[in-house]
Symmetry: C4
């Protein structure tokens, strides 16, 4: 009888644990949707990814997101897919814990592993409307050396506000270098602070902006400035960088505006 | 009564000021047109922009202009649009104060902000028929260092005539670095002087020529020479630059002529 | 009679020698086929070559192979053809001596001369499922200098396991530098040892992997790391390379997985 | 009467001079044709130009020629036209003084100015079957510095035979740097001597070969070696160049053969 009782208690325990797990899961139901986003915003999000892919700045792993137009606590990003292959139907909604509202039947493995980059930045930076995670090759050498990126080209003026380098070892020791969870996302967001972008050592960069055109432009001109700065450095002569006041004046004009170029870029990648 | 008088005088003053302003605006009516330009010239202007875009030398902001064939006091340039998207219907006429003859209903914000570059150069340089403003990446490192561009490649012979660097700080202190008004355009034209081109620190360059093919060729070979010179410098051995007399002989032959290549470039960008 | 006998014996000897030669040839009949390979594997092999050609990493001579899915003693590789022109019907089966099972009527000269690279590596490395031989330009400078490739970019983590340099002179003295026979293939495989890849001085590299997507990814990121390392070196500051433990963690995750990017790459090169 | 006589004598003088000029022209009738060339050779010549243009090695001015298959004293080359626009009907026949057999009604200005490069090399080098004149950018830095090109990449083995630099100043002082006449062509051919190629300071290079595929391959791998050598030099470590015996063995195999790659290159540029 003791044996049977024990058996019974074991069964109960297992059932209880299972119940707890189910309850645990139930404690985190899928977040609610903020409702359908502005179709123009979704179209721009698709375009943003394709423009960056067209510039060689997004590969199979980089991604771009935008805050939901109806709810600052939701953001939009594609499922895990090369940016140049994304269409409107691949766009999903996430809460700021980077949990999808509805995966449309996709397994969680079909999402970008590093989606936490986006959610954690949106949490800490109410001013940020759009985020890019890029592996732009020209940025890598600056991330692995102590050479600071400095603004050298007028459209890269925002670099004047400082581009910190995120060293994942300082936060988490030996890792596989991906931002695999909210904690690492939070660490990265802390290093980013109030800056427009941060390099990630041996990995790439994260870039933020107050709109999709701005974050796309910043990504393009961050990478271009890195190329130009390396070339100027190789010439062995002192470099005249931009003065902070020059940079401030340019940023006041939204990096000189991007509306015209944005329309041009978009026409090229979205077809006729 | 004094109060009423004062009020009345104030009203008069406001009215007078308003009248003055209206008169001021009326004092600058839209410039008159020189009449329809040669359709071939317009076609070549469209082609020039597309050729430079195809070479990666014009982005969403660079522009090319040409003097009107009927009137040396007018020039033609597109509305604000990426050069590779421009068609004949986007070409507008400007006077040498860079005021549009007719915006075809477009707001002034739809024009290139930096159109003053063109007007002010045409004013000071009667020999100039075409002007390019480019952000060619290879030129930026030369603009921010003290390293002078020197002619190293035969088709870049015109560099022998000198390529000054325009430092906007020397003229206007802290700015957003754009040529936003006639004064800055005039300053740039003064630094350009009688040279074929000038670099603009941290911004790009302006290139001039006696025809559209020449200015397009000069822009291409200015940028190419910069790339080649940087590469040669990195090899750490003395460089044999062109002698001024070699350069002079080449320029006498119009930079070796460009008619053949111009036709080839044009065929490629204008479709069959 | 002795003369006739001698003559007779000579005839016999000649016949015997001829028979021996025939038998010798007969001792090496064409290897037997392992049967038709998985069509998906053949499609992936074609795609692998086109993806690498699309990345500028295979020219008219580079090649990619994969072990046969039915028999570890057979591998599949195209006839001698530029990778971007290969279709399924160009794929041939080889044994581990790099002898074709059936040339489909092609002369031996229509095969890749350096097919021995593949067979000899498959012999010595049971863990290897796919092999690439590339002439990637960015790798050549590392092969001709004593500068070791080190992992600088997270997706190039496998470089941490060591990339030896094969100096053909050390094995065979003065040659035309091609892996023209099994002996040279064996020599190369010995230098490769258990490493994921080896550079070949003045020639290119060989890259191995446990699958076609992995070997394609490794080839792309080996070449990219070389480009980035050279750029970082030119900046003259100390470089933070990846720690072995970081690399190990990434490789445990199969180089962060390539399934998503593989599908994207494949869609692009295989048409709609 | 004296006046009339003088007038008459003047008229006679003018007539005599005109007659002399006509006679002078008549003393150099157009050379005779060797007859229609092999259509396959013409097709390959068109393909050669397009392949080099596709590799960025021929612009609007570079050119490729081949000796006529019926007569070693004639060669074939296109009229002055960007290589990527040339079709079979643009191919003209020249004698070794670089005089066209028949311009098909084109003015002499429609021919390449520098055609003398080809004729003079064919005169002095009976072994040469095909000639390329290129402005390949990667070669320019080597032409203007004292840094010798050395073979670093196996397919560039022919560099081992020496690549002299033609300094036009040493022969003709100050010029416009073009090979405008037979004398300059002869000077260049003398400096070329028995070498496979020669750099032209500040201008480009001339490359020779025993066939169109070989000269195309040599042009591609000369330019590639220059790129790779500059990159290796920038790494600051000693470089292992190819040994002369390695190079000799490779050249014995016709630079490792190009037939396969030639077919691939040709398919790409000649359409389906």
């Amino acid at each position: 009888m003791t044996g049977r009782l024990q058996h019974f208690r074991s069964v109960l325990l297992v059932a209880a644990l299972a119940g707890f797990c189910i309850a645990g899961a139930a404690a985190q139901p899928a977040p609610t949707s903020a409702g359908p986003p502005d179709p123009k915003l979704v179209e721009d999000l698709v375009a943003a990814g394709r423009i960056l892919a067209d510039h060689g700045l997004l590969d199979g792993w980089g991604h771009v997101s935008v805050r939901h137009n109806r709810d600052a606590n939701r953001f939009l990003m594609s499922r895990g897919l090369s940016a140049d292959l994304v269409t409107e139907k691949d766009i999903l909604e996430f809460d700021l814990d980077s949990r999808p509202v509805d995966t449309h039947g996709l397994p969680m493995s079909a999402l970008f592993t590093e989606r936490y980059i986006h959610g954690e930045i949106y949490k800490m930076r109410p001013d940020v409307v759009a985020v890019v995670h890029t592996h732009a090759p020209s940025l890598i050498p600056f991330g692995v050396t102590k050479v600071p990126l400095k603004p050298m080209y007028h459209r890269s003026a925002f670099i004047s506000f400082g581009i910190p380098v995120f060293e994942i070892r300082d936060r988490a020791g030996m890792t596989d270098m991906l931002i695999r969870n909210p904690t690492l996302g939070h660490d990265l967001a802390e290093v980013l602070g109030s800056h427009p972008a941060a390099l990630m050592r041996g990995h790439g960069a994260v870039v933020t902006g107050p709109s999709l055109p701005r974050v796309v432009g910043r990504t393009i001109f961050l990478a271009l400035n890195a190329t130009l700065q390396a070339q100027a450095m190789s010439m062995g002569a002192p470099i005249t960088f931009m003065e902070p006041e020059e940079a401030r004046k340019i940023e006041e004009r939204e990096g000189h505006g991007l509306a015209r170029t944005w329309e041009g870029w978009k026409r090229k990648v979205m077809g006729k």
